[in-house]
Amino acid sequence: MVNLTINGKAVSVPEGTTILEAARQTGVHIPTLCYLKHLNEVGACRVCVVEVEGSQKLSAACNTAAEEGMSVRTDTPRVRQARKTNVQLILSQHNVACTSCPRGGNCSLQDVARELNLLEEPFEKMPLPPRWDRTFPLIRDNSKCIQCLRCVNVCDRMQSMKVWEFSGTGRGAHVSTRDGVDIHDINCALCGQCITHCPVGALSARDDTARVLSAIADPDKVVVVQIAPAVRAAWGDEIGLPPELATEKRMAAAVRTLGVDYVFDTNFSADLTIMEEGSELIEHLKTRKGNEAMFTSCCPGWVRFLKLEFPELVPQLSSAKSPQQMFGAVTKSYFADLIKVDPEKIFCVSVMPCSAKKYECDVEAVNDAAKDVDVVLTTRELGRLLRGTDVAALPEEEFDQPLGTASGAGVIFGATGGVMEAALRSAYYLLTGDNPDADAFSEVRGLQGWREYTFTVKDLPLKIAVATGLASARMLMTALKKGEVQYDFIEVMACPGGCAGGGGQPIRDGCELAGERGKRLYQLDRENPIRFSHENPSVQALYKDYLGAPLSEKAHHLLHTEQTAWKL
C-alpha cells in the first residue's frame, strides 16, 4: 500500500494506483476529458492536472501513479488556471456547434467547460477541416475531434481493428484512418464502439431520421417498425426516462406516437432465427465432413469482421439472415399478404442498438427482390425523435400483431451468450422432443470476452464458444485456424457485452453499460411466460400458414443468404 494525502486528507491505496483513482476512492472529484479507465490513460487533454508538492510542473492525475508520502492538491488556483486554459485551447480547435450536434447536451467537453465556468473563448478558432463522406454509416467530423485518442485505443485494444491512428506530428497531428485509407476501403467492422466512446460529437452514426419522417408523412406508405431486443434496455437513457418507466410497452406506445402504422418486435424474428439457425446447426452436426464449427450470423459487425479478417472462414457462417433482415423479409411477404398490401408500399424501419445494421440493410446480396429493411435507426436516433414527446405520461401499449409476439429466448439475443442460450434451448427440444429447464444453459451468460462450455444433449457432446468484442473474436478465430481449439457452435458479437453495449446505444460517457442493460434483458426473459423460440405462437403460425418448416425452400428463399456471395 502507498500512503499519500489528497487535499490534506490521508489516503492509502495499492501500489500502481493513479492519483485520479486514489482521489475517486476518497470522494475527491477531478475533472477528466480524454481519460477512459484502462483503455485511454494518455494524459493528452491535461484537464485532470493536479499539483504534487515538490514537483515543478503539474501532473496528470489520470496516469501518474500515487507515491509514498505524496501530497496532492486538486483544486488550487494554479490547477484551475491550467485546466481552464487547456479547455479553452481545446475549444479553439473544436467546431462548437452544440445546438446542431448529435451530442449536444451529452458531451463531456460541454460538461467540463461548464464545470470550469468557462465564459469566454479567447483563442483564435482553428478547427481542422472535416473531410468525410457523410453518406457512410460511420461519420468522423474532424472539426469536432479533440484528439483525445480514445477512438484509436478503443479500436486498437478493445476491437483489435486499428482503423484509427494518430497521424502526422506537431501542429498537424490528428486522428485519421490508418495510413489515410478511405473509410470505404479500410477494415472497419462498423461496430460503432469508437462512437460510443467518443467524448464529443466527432464520431457519430449517420442520422436517417428524416427519411423515416418523410415515409410517415407519405400517405401511400405503410410504415412498419421493428424494435431490436437490446433497444428496450436502453432507450430511456437517451430521453432521460428512468428504467422503471422505460418499459417495453411504453416503448411500443412511444414509437406509435410517431405516426407509424405498425409497431412490431424484432424479438419475434429472433425466435424465427433460432428456428432456422437451430435447425441448420443440427443439420450441420449431422452432415459435416470434419469437425468444423458453425458460426452465428446475426451480428453484422462480426460478419464484416470475418469477411475482412478471416475470409477463409466465411463458409462456416450460418446462412440464416439476421433477425433484422428476416423480419423485413417476412414483413414484405407474409405480413403484406395478411394485410393485403402491395409489399412495395411497405416501408420497413428497424430500430437497432447498432451502427453496422445501417450497413447490413443495404447489402444487395442479403436482400431479396424487395429491400428487406428500408431504414435503420439507432436507439439514439429513436431517442432524438421522441425528444418532443412527454413519454413518461404515455400509457403502456402492446406491440401490434402478429409480429409482435416473442419468447424470452428472443429478447436475450441482445446480450452476449443470448443467441447461444436461445439456440441451445430449442436445439435441445429439436433433438430430444422435450423442453429442457429454461435456465439449463444459463451458465453461458457473462461478460468475459471468450467463454467455452460443453453440454451433452441426448448423448451428443456439444462444444460451444461465445466471444464478445472483436479482440476476443480475433483470438478465438486465430486459435481456431491454428487448430488449437475445436468447437461445434460459436456465437460472436462484435460489441463487448453484445448488442446491449452496441455502437448504436445511448451514450453515458465513461460508463460501460452492457452488463447492466444485459441484466434487464435477462429479467424480461424470466418474466416472459414463453421461454422457448419454438413455442412462439406467431412463429408457429408463420410456419404452418406460410413457410412450411424450418429450412424449407420458401424459408431458404426468404430467410437465408449466401454468405460467400458478397465480399469486402
Binding site: V52, Q56, S59, T64, A65, M70, F166
Partner: protein, 607 residues
C-alpha cells in the same frame, strides 16, 4: 554621450544567447521523423528573424516562403504552391545579398528535395506521412532496446531484470555496456534540458550488479536447421534469437574463439574477456551448436546450403586495405587487423621500446594507438591527414590516447615508408595538408605548400579501413558490391535461403549495428522458414515517478588514471557508484510514459 563605449553584454543579449543555446540543444536531438514541412517552415521563420531587412529576396522572399509553407500546413496548399515555393527559394538563394537569406533558401531547397514525397502528400492528400517516435533513445538504438525500461529497473535495483529486458532485443548487454557507441544518447530528450542521460553507464551498472542471469528457455523445437557463418556480434545475435524461436542453430567460426571483432578487434582494456564470455555463454546456453576453427569456403558453403534450411552469412570485415604508398610492404608495416587479431589470440607483437606510427583517424586507429602504448612502445604517434576535429574516432578515445602520452600528428598524409638497409621500417614520410572545400560534411584535405616531414620510426600500423573477404561467396554466386555482400534491409540476398548482415554487408560498423542485423536476420529467417514466432516481453517495468530531476549534471564514467592504465590491458573504465547510478537513473525523463509514450504503453509487447 561617449564617443566610444565598451560593449558589455546586457540582459537582452544574455536572454537571446540563452534562447539560441536552448535551440541548439533542441536542434541536436530534433526528431528526424517529424513533419519535414513544419520543420522547414519553422526554420524559414527563424532565418527571417535573423535578417537585417535590407534586401528584397531575404526580407520579403523569406516571408513569402513562410506564408506558402503555412498555407500548405493548413491543408490549403496546391501543387502550384510547390512550384512557386521552389522557384522563389531558387531566386532567393541566387540573389539575396548575404548568406542570411541565401543559405536559408538553400536549406529549404535541400529539404524539399529530400522530402519531396511528403511535401506532395501535404498538397495532394492534405496528409502528412511523418510519424512521431515516442521514445527517442529507443528509436535511436539500432536494436531498439527498451532503454527507459532498463533504466527504471536499474533504479529499482532489479539488475537481473534489467539484463533480461536488454536481452530481449540485444544479447550482448555486457559487451554493449562497455563498448557501445550509444547512438541512443544522441537522441535523448534530456538534451533539451541539460545533457543526455548516461545510458551506457547505467547499463554497465546493471550488468556489473546483475551477476549471472540465465537466458530464457527456447520455444518448442521446429525441426528447422540454420547455419550461421561467423561467430561475431551479428552471427551470434541471429543464432540466439533463432534458437529462442525453436530452430536448431549451428555457428561456424573461422577463428579459435567466438566474438568476432569484439574479441579480435576491440582491445581488452575496453572489453575484458570476462564480459564478452558472459554474453557468449548465455547465448550458447540456449543450445546453439558451435564449430570453431572452420573456414567456410566455396565447397563448404555449398554443403551448408544443402544441409541447412537457411544460411546466415555474418563473416565480418577482417581483411584490410594496404596503406597504398611505396614501401608499405616493408617488414614492420602492419595492419590494424593483424595487430588486433594477434592481441585477441594472446600473441602480442613485441613493440617494447619501439617507435610506433599509426596511420588513420578512426576508432580502430585509436585502439591500435593505445594498444601500442600498452605494449611498451617508446613513442606512439597517430598520423592523420585531416584535423583532429575531423577524426571519426570518438572524441573521448582521442583524448584518452593523448592523456596516455600518444601524439596526434594531424594534417599529414603518408607519402612513403622508408626502410633501412635490412628492409625494416626506418621512417614514414608524410606530406602536410591544407583543409579544402567541404565534401560529405568534412573538409577534404589537399596538399599544402609545405615540405615533406620525415617521421623516424620502427613500426608503421595502417588503420585506414577494413574490407570484407567475400571472394569465396562471390565465386558461389552471392552478389557483392565493392567486396560487401549485397543484401537488402531484411538481410535477404538474391540467393534463396541465404541471408547476410553485419559488417560483411554494411562495411565496417559498430557492435550495435551488427546486433541490429542479427536480430533482423533472425526475424526474416524465421519467416522464410514458414513461422512467425514472436518473442514475448516478459519483464514488467516499474511505473514512472511523478517527476524527474530538474536541470542536473550528468555523471560521466571515470577512467583509471592515464599513468596507471597505460601499461596494462586491464579494464580502463570505472563503474558508477550506486549513488551516481541512482542519480543518473533519476535524470531519465521516462519518455515511455510521458509524452506520446503514454499512448500505446510506451513499449511494444513483442517483436
Amino acid at each position: 554621450m561617449n564617443r566610444l563605449d565598451i560593449i558589455r553584454e546586457g540582459s537582452a543579449e544574455t536572454a537571446i544567447r540563452g534562447l539560441y543555446d536552448d535551440l541548439a540543444r533542441r536542434g541536436a536531438v530534433a526528431p528526424a521523423s517529424n513533419c519535414p514541412v513544419e520543420q522547414a517552415a519553422a526554420f524559414v521563420k527563424l532565418c527571417l528573424s535573423q535578417s537585417c531587412g535590407k534586401c528584397v529576396p531575404c526580407r520579403v522572399g523569406l516571408r513569402q516562403l513562410s506564408a506558402i509553407l503555412d498555407r500548405i500546413l493548413d491543408g490549403q496548399g496546391t501543387a502550384g504552391d510547390l512550384t512557386l515555393l521552389r522557384s522563389l527559394a531558387s531566386a532567393i538563394a541566387d540573389s539575396a545579398d548575404c548568406v542570411i537569406g541565401s543559405e536559408a533558401a538553400r536549406s529549404l531547397l535541400g529539404s524539399m528535395n529530400a522530402f519531396e514525397g511528403d511535401f506532395r502528400s501535404h498538397v495532394e492528400a492534405g496528409r502528412c506521412t511523418a510519424a512521431f517516435e515516442p521514445v527517442p533513445c529507443k528509436a535511436g538504438c539500432p536494436a531498439h532496446v527498451d532503454i527507459p525500461g532498463y533504466i527504471a529497473l536499474t533504479k529499482a535495483g532489479r539488475y537481473a531484470d534489467a539484463v533480461r529486458l536488454i536481452r530481449e532485443d540485444n544479447p550482448f548487454p555486457a559487451a554493449c555496456a562497455l563498448v557501445c557507441e550509444h547512438p541512443c544518447e544522441h537522441r535523448c530528450r534530456r538534451n533539451m534540458v541539460d545533457d543526455a542521460v548516461n545510458i551506457r553507464g547505467i547499463k554497465r551498472m546493471a550488468v556489473d550488479k546483475a551477476g549471472d542471469v540465465p537466458a530464457p528457455t527456447p520455444m518448442a523445437d521446429t525441426g528447422k536447421k540454420v547455419a550461421v557463418v561467423g561467430g561475431g556480434p551479428s552471427g551470434l545475435t541471429a543464432a540466439y534469437y533463432l534458437r529462442l524461436m525453436g530452430h536448431s542453430v549451428t555457428v561456424f567460426e573461422q577463428r579459435n574463439k567466438l566474438g568476432g571483432m569484439m574479441r579480435y578487434g576491440i582491445p581488452r582494456y575496453r572489453l575484458p574477456d570476462k564480459y564478452l564470455d558472459g554474453d557468449i555463454d548465455a547465448i550458447l546456453s540456449t543450445g546453439v551448436e558451435v564449430h570453431t576453427d572452420v573456414s567456410v569456403t566455396g565447397g563448404t558453403f555449398q554443403w551448408l546450403k544443402g544441409e541447412f534450411d537457411a544460411v546466415y552469412l555474418a563473416i565480418g570485415a577482417h581483411s584490410y586495405r594496404p596503406l597504398g604508398v611505396p614501401g608499405d610492404d616493408a617488414e614492420n608495416v602492419l595492419s590494424a587487423v593483424e595487430l588486433l587479431r594477434a592481441m585477441g589470440d594472446g600473441q602480442a607483437p613485441d613493440l617494447k621500446g619501439k617507435r610506433v606510427v599509426i596511420v588513420g583517424g578512426g576508432n580502430v586507429a585509436m585502439d591500435c594507438t593505445r594498444t601500442a602504448m600498452r605494449l611498451g612502445a617508446r613513442s606512439v604517434q597517430c598520423v592523420y591527414r585531416r584535423r583532429q576535429a575531423d577524426m571519426t574516432a570518438l572524441a573521448e578515445e582521442v583524448e584518452g590516447a593523448i592523456a596516455e602520452h600518444c601524439e596526434m600528428v594531424t594534417m599529414m598524409a603518408p607519402v612513403r615508408v622508408e626502410t633501412d638497409g635490412s628492409g625494416k621500417v626506418a621512417a614514414l614520410v608524410v606530406q602536410p595538408q591544407i583543409p579544402g572545400a567541404y565534401d560529405g560534411g568534412r573538409p577534404k584535405p589537399a596538399r599544402a605548400d609545405r615540405d615533406e616531414v620525415r617521421i623516424e620510426c620502427d613500426v608503421v600500423i595502417g588503420a585506414i579501413g577494413q574490407v570484407v573477404d567475400s571472394a569465396p561467396f562471390a565465386a558461389e554466386g552471392v552478389p557483392t558490391r565493392r567486396n560487401n555482400i549485397q543484401s537488402d534491409t531484411g538481410t535477404l540476398t538474391e540467393v534463396d535461403g541465404v541471408f547476410s548482415g553485419g559488417d560483411c554487408a554494411s562495411g565496417p560498423s559498430t557492435v550495435i549495428r551488427a546486433v541490429e542485423a542479427g536480430k533482423t536476420a533472425a526475424a526474416n529467417i524465421d519467416k522464410y522458414l514458414g513461422f512467425e514466432h514472436r518473442l514475448p516481453r516478459a519483464v514488467s517495468v516499474p511505473a514512472a515517478a511523478s517527476a524527474s530531476l530538474g536541470p542536473w549534471g550528468r555523471v560521466n564514467l571515470s577512467e583509471r588514471r592515464a599513468e596507471e592504465r597505460r601499461d596494462d590491458f586491464d579494464l580502463m573504465e570505472l563503474n558508477m557508484t550506486e549513488q551516481e547510478a541512482r542519480q543518473e537513473c533519476s535524470r531519465c525523463l521516462r519518455c515511455d510514459h510521458y509524452g506520446l509514450g503514454a499512448f500505446r504503453g510506451g513499449r511494444s509487447e513483442q517483436w
